[in-house]
Symmetry: D3
Subunit: 318 residues, 6 copies
Amino acid sequence: MLSDHKKGETYSIYLLIKAAEKRTTSKGSPYIRLTLTDRSGEIQANLWDASDQDVEKYIAGRVAYLTVLQDEYQSKAQLKIQEIRLANDSEPGDPSLYEISSPISKKDLQSQVSDLLFQITNPTWNRIVRNVLNKYADKYYDYPAAEKLHHAYRGGLAFHSLSIAKLAIKVAELYPQINLSLLLSGALLHDIGKTVELSGPVGTEYTNEGQLLGHIVIGDEILVESAEELGFDLHSEDMLLLRHLIISHHNKLEFGSPIPPRELEAYVLSKLDDLDAHIQMITAALNKTERGHFSEKIFGADNQPYYRSNADLPQNHD
Amino acid sequence: MLSDHKKGETYSIYLLIKAAEKRTTSKGSPYIRLTLTDRSGEIQANLWDASDQDVEKYIAGRVAYLTVLQDEYQSKAQLKIQEIRLANDSEPGDPSLYEISSPISKKDLQSQVSDLLFQITNPTWNRIVRNVLNKYADKYYDYPAAEKLHHAYRGGLAFHSLSIAKLAIKVAELYPQINLSLLLSGALLHDIGKTVELSGPVGTEYTNEGQLLGHIVIGDEILVESAEELGFDLHSEDMLLLRHLIISHHNKLEFGSPIPPRELEAYVLSKLDDLDAHIQMITAALNKTERGHFSEKIFGADNQPYYRSNADLPQNHD
Amino acid sequence: MLSDHKKGETYSIYLLIKAAEKRTTSKGSPYIRLTLTDRSGEIQANLWDASDQDVEKYIAGRVAYLTVLQDEYQSKAQLKIQEIRLANDSEPGDPSLYEISSPISKKDLQSQVSDLLFQITNPTWNRIVRNVLNKYADKYYDYPAAEKLHHAYRGGLAFHSLSIAKLAIKVAELYPQINLSLLLSGALLHDIGKTVELSGPVGTEYTNEGQLLGHIVIGDEILVESAEELGFDLHSEDMLLLRHLIISHHNKLEFGSPIPPRELEAYVLSKLDDLDAHIQMITAALNKTERGHFSEKIFGADNQPYYRSNADLPQNHD
Amino acid sequence: MLSDHKKGETYSIYLLIKAAEKRTTSKGSPYIRLTLTDRSGEIQANLWDASDQDVEKYIAGRVAYLTVLQDEYQSKAQLKIQEIRLANDSEPGDPSLYEISSPISKKDLQSQVSDLLFQITNPTWNRIVRNVLNKYADKYYDYPAAEKLHHAYRGGLAFHSLSIAKLAIKVAELYPQINLSLLLSGALLHDIGKTVELSGPVGTEYTNEGQLLGHIVIGDEILVESAEELGFDLHSEDMLLLRHLIISHHNKLEFGSPIPPRELEAYVLSKLDDLDAHIQMITAALNKTERGHFSEKIFGADNQPYYRSNADLPQNHD
Amino acid sequence: MLSDHKKGETYSIYLLIKAAEKRTTSKGSPYIRLTLTDRSGEIQANLWDASDQDVEKYIAGRVAYLTVLQDEYQSKAQLKIQEIRLANDSEPGDPSLYEISSPISKKDLQSQVSDLLFQITNPTWNRIVRNVLNKYADKYYDYPAAEKLHHAYRGGLAFHSLSIAKLAIKVAELYPQINLSLLLSGALLHDIGKTVELSGPVGTEYTNEGQLLGHIVIGDEILVESAEELGFDLHSEDMLLLRHLIISHHNKLEFGSPIPPRELEAYVLSKLDDLDAHIQMITAALNKTERGHFSEKIFGADNQPYYRSNADLPQNHD
Amino acid sequence: MLSDHKKGETYSIYLLIKAAEKRTTSKGSPYIRLTLTDRSGEIQANLWDASDQDVEKYIAGRVAYLTVLQDEYQSKAQLKIQEIRLANDSEPGDPSLYEISSPISKKDLQSQVSDLLFQITNPTWNRIVRNVLNKYADKYYDYPAAEKLHHAYRGGLAFHSLSIAKLAIKVAELYPQINLSLLLSGALLHDIGKTVELSGPVGTEYTNEGQLLGHIVIGDEILVESAEELGFDLHSEDMLLLRHLIISHHNKLEFGSPIPPRELEAYVLSKLDDLDAHIQMITAALNKTERGHFSEKIFGADNQPYYRSNADLPQNHD
């Protein structure tokens, strides 16, 4: 695994080509900029003096076997390729073996979400959530939660939504004034617009719809259409509240919510969304950091470096 | 007319009671706080030692005949009531004679808007605009454009939209790269959500829908539903562009647009909206200011006072 | 109870005088501005034409029996006093019967905190927390968590700290990478400096120390002194981490943390602190709001009004 | 023309050398960084292994004939030079054939400005504008409107001023309360200080005066001196108003206006200035963008990318 | 003296009427709002049931003899008038006996400024400063430095300028790289525009010129005109530097400088201006504060309250 | 000296290696990035094709003799190494000959600080300052005042503290209301926490303590411990005031002070700290700038370029 190696080491490894871009050096000789990945991380490498055959051979989606020297360029790790060939038939060549993806399998994501639906006891919200998740199931369990920053991997959207839903249940245990049906519905659907805003789980980019409307407006559109289909009154309190949770979940206008939270569950949803995203980003950065040192500055966490302590964690619970 | 009188004057006048609220002095005696209006403006007055009959008689919607001393309280004009009675049958008692409203009559607003529609040559936008304006006609020509600040009078919504449309035509004459069909469609529909966000032309308040969704999201919902009705593809470029104009017309995220303008006509619409609103606010403040002096600070115009010059305007055009 | 009455009602009631200030009307006659309270809320009333005896009699800490008309002044409820006398010996005159205080009794607060200490398995943190809570026990279970805004009542400091600790346990169940010992220690001690920053549970004001140092610096001072007493190395990782949680718990420099969170548990603590405070403020505002309406703007919650829905809460859990 | 070619193409072309800077590679070999231009745009190229003769030959102001491969470096287009020689006498070697400049010829700019002066009916403003434009004519019709960002080409200053003046006439047709004489005077003179702030039409830089005083203060100085010459009272209302328009045209203090607009025409001028500059920047960016795609982020337009639609423009007017 | 009395005291005192405004109570009876002053401070009082004779008698500029009860209204001191009459001929009736003014007499201000001029050894700056101070002498030694906030008294402008000049000399003793001639010139002239921006030493208001141009632009105009008179080249380095010091002395664009400091002495001037203004504001607030307590929040000092310590000052120097 | 040479010159020079980092080119060949310094400045150079011996030989702390061509890379000066060898025994090889350090010798810093202590006449503050300076003497006279930006050299901490103390004495001469004992104590101790926040005078980095606590909290800890040692009451006014000066010396919360200045001397200290740091930064930038030109943008001075005038300084004082 990539994460087992350090700067200065020479080693051989199977890696998935995630992206391959043909480039030319300033002096005019062609090379390929490869983005290589396995489940432990992602790294760049340049294949110098690339022939036309190389360009055809080393393309996104293929698995290659490389001998490399691990180096650093502008304080990011980089590989110097010493040898490279494609994996042959007897070698582990299935791309899904190398892709970073949700820590929970697609099947488990689906069954855990299904189980949660029973806790949405309000019939309007229950039917809306089921209707939307059915229509968007393919993308919901496949898309990342963001282009980069956090949960940027296959299944990240469902995994992140589910994590917030679990937090919602925990928090509602302490604050009985919270309407759990509403909060769970919001947790599961808040980012549904990302299935249209983003292009897909691989090579994720913003779509034209995404750039012109944004996932908040698209999410509201999905609720409006679902209500139409189910014959619900768009201006009933139930619909107003659920739509409000979706559109206010970025908490502040300057973060893209056209209306700030003005309802208890909307406030709580916006904060649990933020909390889960930050814990994920900080944990990811700490996993790449030596004990007793600070991580790189984490762009999404106020651009602060985070400290990884020397202490082994006690067993929190048995 | 109210605007003909000054602080210190005693005079008699017919005024419409716009609001009447029963209150008690700190010492416990009852009085009525009256908001009185004619077409030239609005003013407060207290009817002291009000009897139960007074409370029944002087209510919103009635026209009264008053003898008053014009005074000032906390630097706002106020009337001291010396005599008051309701207008009798032979006197001008029709409330519409006293209401501030659009400088253009409803009929003219309607015909001018109708004429403009012919300049929307793109069939998708033309049909959407016609469909929406038909469905919301009652409110569109009746509602104010805002709760206070600017165009806060009956018909203000249509009048403001029409003004922007006229500006759009002028500006497109100078910049042929502007798609006038799109810009006109945006100009006419950008505030359509206010027909749901606000409660109506009189005693205007935010509705629950307004506070939980805002007129930008409601406006987008109206477009989504209209496209459904007309069988248009929501993700066609035509629909994306028109929806983008609506949702980005506040220009910046911190002003409530979930997405900033990312299209030429969207940028221009947001700026013409701003320009018309400011000219209206500044003009309204200057109309209450003596020549050679500064107006009150105008809240909506960066809280600046504006200077009214001594110069008579030359005839701009013949 | 105060909360049982509405504007316009006349009724008799026992209330605690929380504050009594002698004033003079603009015309020179003396009156007393009374702040009156019972467990359901707080209200203002003026006692007009107050004699010298009245001034001596109606002072903070006494319980009075009043006949009043409930009115409104500048959109705040206010009482017009029709009759007033002090409660006599046979009447309920114990101030503690009228004071707003923590929803959990002092005894329960203490025993719940004691139980939590066993989950702090790191011996350094365990001993520091015990040492500090012992030394500051009197104030810790008695002080409010703030001068106003949230948990501004007797016992509020311990109640708020305990709520965050309970949230910490819930959240750590979902994220095993969290060091619960550290997070619990921070939850219990983060506001310990308020025992010096604030003057006490009643008539709470900032002390000179509070205004010149602030509770964050005072909290750090308390940890420094406790470490001295216990012979712990101030620059050991354990001490650095716990001190970091205290000083970074306002999350951003502009909110008064001299250093932002740079450690996972510090980040989580700052967010749970915020979450509990907001839920408390929003809930308090909604409790005073009619169903289907919006609350007053909540200063501490981005100055937004919050909507109270019509829906009865389902039973969240059995 | 440069704009007819794409990445990956090899082609021959005449280009003007706008700048030529001698550099050394990290390994010590000399090369020339060329900035090349024709009327359709501007591009960078490096001439590797440059001899001393090359350095003397390929200098700013010369026209060269090149055979090039169009490539990209850090997502900007760049040329790889395959062959280069100077244009010979029989080839198109006049630099003015290659320079980007105002879409309107200098002569037309002058005659259109002259025509506009008749619409400035106030004699003070008319004489001031004529006096200033006479004195600064050479630079006014030659300078760019900015160092980069917008109208950064020969004649840009006059072209931008004229565009605003045309907008002013259009807007005043809709709002008769606007003093067109004043607004036109401000439109024509608002950036007059740039004739001193900037160094000239080619290789435009800020002068020392420009950096120490800025074009707003310099513009006011020019008005003060013109008023002296013409014997006008600096503190007459006419002079105050015109000076106010110049100094407030950046609209906000943080954009460099020492006083914000406090006069109707000053507000309108600041907004039309902004509108014209943005339309020019957005249009320039879209001209380099494929239909159905987004442009690069436009620094001067809130750093947003702009969408170029697929639609052909209808004929706006005949 | 006013400052010798406290809330609750009844006493007799001579005071100057600084302002007298006729008003009407909400019930319609006339009264006069008096602003009364002596050298120790300023206070408000209402003269109830004022007759027409009272209105003629008690006007700004007259000295009155009053018997009063000192009270408080909205936490500001206020006098309740028990008796009032004008001072008679044998009593101290000269207004200048009661006016707050510069701690240094006008004559001393003038001679200290004169002495400083010899330290401006650069002939250009020396002549400019002399020329400007001669022309504006009447106002320079008479005007306040601000409408309110700091040095808001007769002679405040010269006193504040002189204080900065004295600071400049001290600071230049420690940093020999500072050009003292330039810094002193800037110190003496930086606020010269206030002689036009403000209306005068009494009842100070902003003039129309002040509101439309601001003292920074007016100050630059004064330098431009002085250079014309003296035949100096406006674009010589000497003039550029001095003008830069004037226009940049508010330090940041958002505080009204069209250009920020870009020259060492300009930076230092902006900071010494700020330092002197703050020390004056803080000292003024502390003088009204009891030892061991905090002052009111000081608007101009980041709205913070300041602590007045119990300690007697040691003798700083002999 | 480095500062005697210009771009384009070839010369030989002794320089201290301040840092040496092994790197690899994009093509894989090893080189050493050297940071070289003498008392006049610091510069980068790459030693290409470095052998393993080179890597062992050219390390931080050694003095080398180089023949170099001075060049520029990304508008920063850089050396191209033509020859390099270590200084031999007969050559000037003592690193202290090459290090940039305080303009005042360590001995003089110590004696000047000692002299100042006599002006701290308050016994509490005098003893605290002596106690702390004794304990931290080694680091106080050796550490820089910052990692970069200003006074980033050996002895910078004491030199900067002393400069502020000298400013304090000058300013207190003009404002007798200033408590000089307090202000001097604050000046000398305000940055004492940097002795723990930073790693030392060479290769200065933030320590873990520094990143988790910051020098403001560490400085307060040092005062708390010193008070303990000396038996002073931490909550006496004397201690509160001195602690307040330390914690508020960054002036605003967003700059890292948990409490803003709320005491006259605290305000003055924060401003003198700022003034000295800026004068040092601006002077350092101007020393590298030609007369009549602007410096690079100075990051710590609002990112502005500063102008170096042509004028020779007059003798400020004799």
